[in-house]
Structure formats: C-alpha cells, structure tokens
Amino acid sequence: MHPAFSVVFFTTATGAGYGLLALLGVLGGLGLIPPDFWFGLIGMGLALGLIAAGLLSSTGHLGRPERAWRAFSQWRSSWLSREGVSSVLTFIPAGLFGIGWLFFGRTGVWVTLAGLLAAVGAIVTVCTTGMIYASLKPIAQWHSRFTLPGYLIFSAMTGSVLLNALLQVFAIGSTAIAAAALLVTMLGWGWKLATWRYNDALEIATTANTATGLTGGTVRSLEWPHTEENYLLKEMGFRIARKHGAKLRLITQILAFALPALLLLAAIFLPWPLAAIASVLAAFAQFAGMLVERWLFFAEAKHTVTLYYGR
C-alpha cells in the first residue's frame, strides 16, 4: 500500500494525542497528577493540538475535502465514519475537562466525569482507527488480530512517554509514570516484533489462481492492460525492497523502542534537569520512530489487486 504522508502523520499524531488525552483525563480527573496551570494548559494543548493537526492532515488525503462533513453520516456501517463521529464527540468532554481542570479548581464531580468521558472517547476513537485497517480483508497484513491491539498499545505508549516528558519538564515527574512509560514502550516493542513475525510467516489463501479462477498449475502475468502505472498500482501496488524494509525495521526498533526505553530508564535514576532532558529526547525519538513504523505499516502491506499484475 502506498504510504501517503498525510495518513502516516494522521494516525501517528492522533494516536499520541488521544493517548495523552486519555491519560490526562484519567489522572487529572481523579486528581492523581499534581495541579499545575501551565502544565495543564500545555498538556491539554499538546494533546488536542496533535489530534487537530492529525485530523486536518487526514483531510489532505481527500479528493474533495470540502465535503468532509458528509463522513459523519454512515456510522452504522463504516469504521471511517465512526472514527469521524467519535473524534469530534471526544472534543466535547475534552474541552469541558480542560476548562474545569485548568480554570475551576480542578476537582469536583463534573470535571472528573468529563475527564473520564474524554478518556473513553479517546480510546474509542483509537479503536475505530485501528478497525478501519483491521476490517480490510484484501490486505492480509492489516486484517489480523495484531492490528487493533497494536493501535491501542502504540497510542498508550506514545501518550505515556509524552506525559512523562511534560511532567519532567515541569519538574513534577514521578518514578511511577516514567516506569509505566518504560513498561508500555517495552510492550510496544514486543507487540511490533510479534506482528512482524506473524506477517513474515503469513500464508495468504488468495493467489493468482483464485484471483483469476484458473485452477491448478501456475498463473503468470504475461501482459498488463496498460503500459504505465495506473491508479491501482500507484495506490496499492507500492513495493518496498526487502533490504530497505529490514533497515527501516531496525531504525523503527532503535528510535521508537530501544532509545526511548534507555532514556526513560536513565530518567528514573538521573536528577532533574537531566531527567527532563532524557524524557523529552525519548518523546521526540519515539515520535520519529513511530512515523517510520507507520510508514512501514503501509509499505509492507500487500493488497490482493497486485496479484492481477503478477506482483
């Protein structure tokens, strides 16, 4: 599948944004994060900013973005529509929570409720994003039991690493949060390795034989219907060389998992401000690494239409 940057950035940014929003909603709503106005403002600003930037970026993928409002209508059948609806609905409790938490005393039943609802909205939205991909049968690497948990784990991972970085910058970090971010990062690493192992061993039932209805023997593409690449090949025929894939997987592992894990471990033991610097570096490295991971998620996915072209 063609890795369009607008979609790669969209899923990575909203994943991190919703992860951070969910954590702020739960921890802030329950009063587990020490109250600080500027921390709250920048934290909520970053979470909602990442979400808004991601959503705006996703409209860059559309052929007719001025009609994007129509995408809220088909939530009964379409995961993309459900994503649109839940992403917009989540802004309501998130906004209420932000106002209550930052400007009005930060506690109280309705602030807690809004925080928890924002967290639920964030989780639901990440689920809908994951299901858009997991529900596509023609792409075996996406239509697997690894896709939905992957989106949730990576959202929690990038969100918690961001939260830890913010807390550390304001010198209100805690070992518990840093350790949690480290644990989820290790979980994400393990999940990604398991996903790659599954995909590499995948035996796909759909072949050039079933695609053409010609049974037995071998079916070899002699001639395409067209001389140049068409929409199908540009959008779904993207191929990545095996050696490039291996290199990018290594880069993903270093930037998204290994380096952040080491930096988070260091942050637990280092004094401030070194802990803050390590935490911020971990967040930046991980975001860059997750962009590579998401690029590979598309680039390594093979659509069944490529079988018609002998690919």
């Binding site: 052929g63 995408a71 779904m236």
Partner: protein
C-alpha cells in the same frame, strides 16, 4: 445508506467466458467510449499523449499464461466490477456515496457525495474502483445503468457496452439471481466460478473457465511425400557430385 440491502429483486451481472475471449480490447474501448459520456462521466485521461499516461477505466483486460500438467495456454482475462452480494466497498464508505441497489443489485457511486477518501478502493480485492484525480472522486463500472434501462435504444442494445461490443460473444449479461435465466444456465453448464471466493464478497459476475485441452489434431488426408530420387542428366550429375 451504505448498509447493504437484505435482498435484491434481481442480481444483474456479467458472465465472462475465458475460453472464447481473444483479448482484443474491444470491450475496453467500448466501455470507455460509452461511459465517458455516461452516468459516471467523464472517464478522465491524464496526459493521454505523454509519457505518463494515466486515466480512469472501468474494464481492463489482462493476459496470463496458465501452465498445468496438461500444457500451457494464454488466457485473456477481462477484469471489472463484479457487483458483489456483500461488497465491503459499500459498507466502508463514510458518506453514503457508495450504494447497492435493492432493485437489481448494481453497485453505484453518487459522485456528488463522494469525498475521495479512497477507502472503498482499498476494500475491493478486485481493483474494480479507480480514482479520478482530476474530479477528486472515485469511479467504477455502472453495469451501464444508462443503457440497460434506456427506452431510447432498440431492445437488443439494452445491454452493457462491453457485452454489445464483444466480437466473440465472450461476455453475457443477465439476471444471475434467476436460475432459469440464460446466464444462470450458462454458468451451470460450463461450471462458472467466483473470483477469490475465500474473500467472502460473493461476486455476482461469474467467469467460465477455459475448456479442457483436447488431444485432437487436424487430420490430413494427403499421403506422405516420396523421398526425392536422384535424377539423370546434368542436375543428376551435380546432385551426385555434391552428395559425395
């Protein structure tokens, strides 16, 4: 609504005979000609005379080499929308632009509602949908809805343009939901198959596999030629000299 109809009154579709298709591309050009002025018009061409030719086509004909223990053969393979019974391209549509008609089962796009998110083309395993980068919307085969119900055409022309154009009658159009229809009979007689049945999309269009190879060869009644006799005279002498 992008939810699928529980039942369609008819299941209009095509039956494509891989035994008789000669890969002449007449169906491709006839489709392009009709539909660039039809329901989903235009079928945009990008840089048609340049080096990066691109454009929207509803019907593409591939050529394959199929090798089995019985030998090898070339199979020409037209590929277009199969108007599936459970088309995921419709259910994934977030705007309601894609729909399957309850009356005849045809899968269509309302161009005015399409936002060009391309998700339907990802959901189609067959590559039936092509994006029009110029208009910014998705396009696909309409089964020539503007021909098959068109009272302005004489009755025999009320078939999809590809069917009307086929010089070898490799394309057949009809109601595959009616077991008594000519197309259903043809599918039953020739063992018509679904493409990618494991996907579970239940395509309406059927493909008739090439007929089995035969060991028949053309029989020749004429006797075998006699070996050439060496002749006398000058030419005979030359022949003898050269043969030594």
């Amino acid at each position: 609504m992008t939810c699928l109809p529980a039942h369609t009154d008819k299941r209009l579709g095509l039956v494509i005979d891989l035994d008789t298709c000669v890969g002449c591309q007449a169906c491709v050009t006839a489709c392009k000609e009709w539909n660039t002025g039809g329901h989903m018009a235009p079928l945009t061409d990008i840089d048609p005379y340049g080096s990066n030719v691109d454009g929207v086509w509803f019907n593409r004909v591939h050529s394959y080499e199929h090798i089995t223990e019985m030998g090898g053969r070339t199979v020409n393979f037209p590929r277009s929308c199969l108007h599936c019974e459970t088309p995921a391209c419709v259910t994934v549509c977030p705007t309601g632009a894609s729909y399957k008609r309850a009356s005849d089962g045809i899968v269509l796009i309302d161009e005015d509602k399409c936002i060009g998110c391309k998700l339907c083309s990802w959901a189609c395993p067959y590559g039936a949908r092509e994006f029009d980068t110029d208009v910014g919307v998705m396009k696909k085969c309409t089964l020539c809805v503007d021909r098959i119900y068109n009272d302005n055409l004489v009755e025999e022309d009320r078939v999809p343009a590809c069917v009307a154009a086929c010089p070898t009658s490799a394309r057949h159009f009809g109601d595959l939901g009616d077991p008594a229809s000519a197309v259903s009979q043809l599918v039953a007689d020739r063992g018509g198959v679904d493409l990618m049945p494991e996907m579970g999309y239940h395509p309406t269009n059927k493909y008739l596999p090439p007929r089995a190879h035969t060991q028949r060869a053309a029989s020749v009644a004429a006797p075998a030629l006699e070996p050439v006799r060496a002749e006398g005279g000058f030419l005979g002498w030359v022949d003898r000299m050269l043969s030594n």
